[in-house]
């Protein structure tokens, strides 16, 4: 009981700290959202028109009261599930805005993460099994080099080469002329529009999985149960997959859960470059426009995502590793 209370307490405490930071950090920044909105509409270096700022302020309902009362109101709203109205997308509520964007990111992230995870695991396992072979060297060195490239840089190169010079893929947006829905045209458009952002994300991500998998697998290959499996005269495939890879997969799988939780924030640059209508771009806009309600909710979403991912990783570990099951009892 104490164990669970502790765990829940930690969860709630962390959530509270995150919520509070989410509240404080944007407010510690200089800049007035109304001014920024007007500036955005007028151009970045314009002279602010006082009347417009006034109008904007009155429309957005500038935060009133002390920081303290704002904070309590914010907490109360959160508890009610009211995330407020986005400044950028006024008069739409933050929930509506995120509701529109989230599926794009979830789709993009899920697909790229799953692909990179699978590719990473397979390559990593293979590199470990054929350790010190040419292929191992190529895989580890190649993925290291690719992994160090700046995602934004890759995005630019892809955009230039495949989007414009070769014209193979559309360069911006999530779709173009089609009507969203379950029709072939739309699905085709979504797939073709997602290709470049997905590739930009894919080039950098598998490196972690490759190296992580390779290292754990190499370590596992030195374990007694692998030696015993070899002594048992089992085929290499069985030893590699059922014994070595199966065990080496454990830390990676929980790592994967964590990565899924935290990756939402990591697509800002790529989504922005490709004008992809997902949460990353939204986050970029929210930061730029001091869209407190949107920014707060997005940060809350990502941090809650990470927290839940942590929890899921814990649980998953219990499911995947029989040793953990008893320990958690």
């Amino acid at each position: 009981m104490r164990y669970f209370l502790r765990k829940i307490g930690f969860f709630v405490g962390t959530l509270w700290a995150v919520v509070t930071l989410n509240f404080l950090i944007p407010r510690l920044q200089p800049g007035d959202p109304a001014e920024l909105m007007v500036r955005r509409l007028q151009g970045k270096d314009s002279q602010l028109d006082a009347a417009q700022v006034e109008a904007m302020r009155s429309m957005l309902g500038a935060p009133d009261g002390s920081l303290w009362t704002q904070y309590w109101a914010y907490l109360a709203d959160l508890l009610r599930g009211d995330f407020g109205v986005s400044y950028t997308y006024y008069p739409f509520s933050v929930a509506e805005v995120i509701g529109q964007a989230i599926w794009w990111t979830v789709g993009l992230v899920l697909v790229t993460q799953v692909i990179s995870f699978v590719v990473g695991i397979v390559l990593g396992a293979y590199a470990a099994w054929r350790r010190n072979s040419k292929l191992d060297t190529v895989i580890t060195l190649g993925s290291t080099f690719l992994g160090t490239l700046q995602p934004f840089w890759i995005a630019l190169v892809l955009l230039y080469v495949f989007g414009y010079t070769l014209g193979w893929f559309p360069t911006s947006g999530g779709y173009s002329a089609s009507i969203p829905g379950l029709n072939m045209f739309f699905v085709e458009e979504v797939l073709s529009h997602s290709t470049l952002p997905a590739v930009a994300l894919l080039i950098v991500t598998p490196i972690g999985w490759i190296l992580g998998m390779r290292n754990t697998m190499i370590m596992n290959l030195g374990e007694d149960y692998i030696r015993l499996a070899k002594a048992k005269g089992l085929p290499d495939r069985t030893v590699a997959l059922r014994y070595a890879a199966r065990n080496a997969l454990l830390p990676s799988v929980t790592g994967f859960a964590l990565a899924l939780g935290s990756v939402l924030g990591g697509t800002i640059l790529v989504e922005t470059v490709f004008d992809y209508p997902g949460l990353g771009r939204l986050m970029g806009e929210a930061v730029q426009n001091k869209d407190y309600p949107l920014l707060q909710t997005l940060m809350l979403l990502t941090t809650t995502g990470v927290l839940i991912a942590n929890l899921v990783a814990d649980l998953l570990y219990g499911v995947l590793d029989p040793r953990a099951r008893r320990a958690e009892g």
Partner: protein, 625 residues
Amino acid sequence: MARPTEGTALLEVRNLEVRYEPKASRSMTAVQDVSFDIKPGEFVGLIGESGSGKTTLATALLRLLEKPGRISNGTITFDGTDITHLDQDELREIRWRDLSTVFQSSMNSLNPVVRIEPQFRDAIEQHSDLRGDDVSARVRELFDMVFIDHRFITAFPHELSGGMKQRVNLALALALDPKLVLLDEPTTGLDVVVQHSILQNVRKLQEEKGFAVLFISHDIGTVLDLSDRILVMYAGRIVESQTAQELLREPLHPYTKGLLGSYGDPRAETVRITYIPGRPPDLSLVSEGCSFAPRCPEKIDRCLTDYPELLPIESGEVACHVAALHRLGGADGVELPERTRRFVGPEFVKTADESAQARERDIVLTVDNVTKVFEKRRGLKVDRTVAVADTSFVLRKGAVTALVGQSGSGKSTLARMITGIDSPTEGRIVFHAPDGDQEVSSYRGRALRNYRSHVQMVFQDPYSALNPTKRLGQILERPLINYQGLKGDALRAHVEELLGTVALTPADRFVNRYAYELSGGQRQRVVIARALAVLPEVIVADEPISSLDVSIRAEILELLNDLVQDHDVGILYITHDLLSARMLADDVIVLNEGRVVEQGPALQVIRDPQDDYTRTLLDAVPNPF
């Protein structure tokens, strides 16, 4: 037994050499010129200290050597097939069906994420025609052979106790009725009683099924108990091969004698055990002559220059110039040491009289009806574990009290309470300090620190008890600085004195050494020196010799005994080993599941055990005599 004849052997090893050739460090020859045979159905023991190359040899026989190790010379012929250079696919045919194994530390040799049955199934299906329920039936049969409940067939490895896992491994090794089973220290790390029963089980099965066994161990007692024939390995070579009876009757190699000398009969009025001084050679250095010569009490000049060949002598084989000259003649003017079956080396002797005096000394610490209960919450349930129940005893100045029991008997919990790390749930532990009695559990902060200048600890594993990043001088300085405020020359002088006390001389050669540069015995001396630094009244020694090689255990026991005599220290000696308890202790307390089952003068308890549990413990002590 005569030298095995060609053709009848199941396993023939000829001139086997295994080299480790790492890129970064010096290469070394871990196994050198090893030749032996195992006949069908023969139970062969292979004995050697840690580092003697026995595990490397086993790995080479199984063809599981990995880089940088490789078989650099010689042949291995198994069942008529030369397997020295077979490729993995060809080896797969032989593996497990004919040649199976149980590894050292086989706690980890079961795949932790797969249930037990599939781990049997894959091996069985790989090598036989059994499928489906037939496999399950076979697994049940195997479980019966090793006395494990069938419900564990579907368990995960971690759900089994260490002993059970090892039985499962044994069952797994026998799954396909192999011709040869290689047991590499299969019971290391297990409790003495469990060890004993598993090994008896092995021997019984071997006799029933008629498979051959190569049994590798560092414990000559166990090997003698079980084996038909024994190979003794030292520094990568076989130095002696004899049948068990012959070896016991007349050990040929001085090293074998040394190993045998480390056993004594705990029931005797006066017990003598010997130890082999020094340490095994560094195999990465090329040495001349007999590699045992530096530690050998019988060595002659020739030993320093020529390596002795393994020669057939009487019923066995030995690689020793002296033994050969004694028995085969040809001494021709060489002055030979006296022919003996004992190891003529340092010796530790304990008489019953000494103990009687010690039992009259002043009490320094009283353990009074102490109970310790651990509570662990699991969800809504509370697990209460009684680690120690209603235990009382005293520690006296200049006397040794042994706390004997299996793991889990509550020995270590008592030690933790006595040293102030834990406090008792009930009862009191009173320290009779010079300035009045004080309850140990009342010490906090500075007082606790001060208390520890009176009570010190010696740990089981000297490898982990010494900080690997510190020089010995630094390690010994700290308690002197902290408790006695010594500085400068006085400090240095005192450190050297301490090193001298534990016979690490000349001290200046050791002051700047790191722990890894020392042998296990030397390390344990440093640990003892550190405990001595603060002139404690009590030393709690938690299994101080169990991680050391048999051949040097007596050396540490002797040192501890000297401390008791010379420094008037009271020792609480924690052990599972009744022999060593008898060697060191004046009083013996036998603990079982947290309760004292028997208590009294050491010799009395051992000679005339009142409790069944004590008898079980006594039975488990390997006794080759």
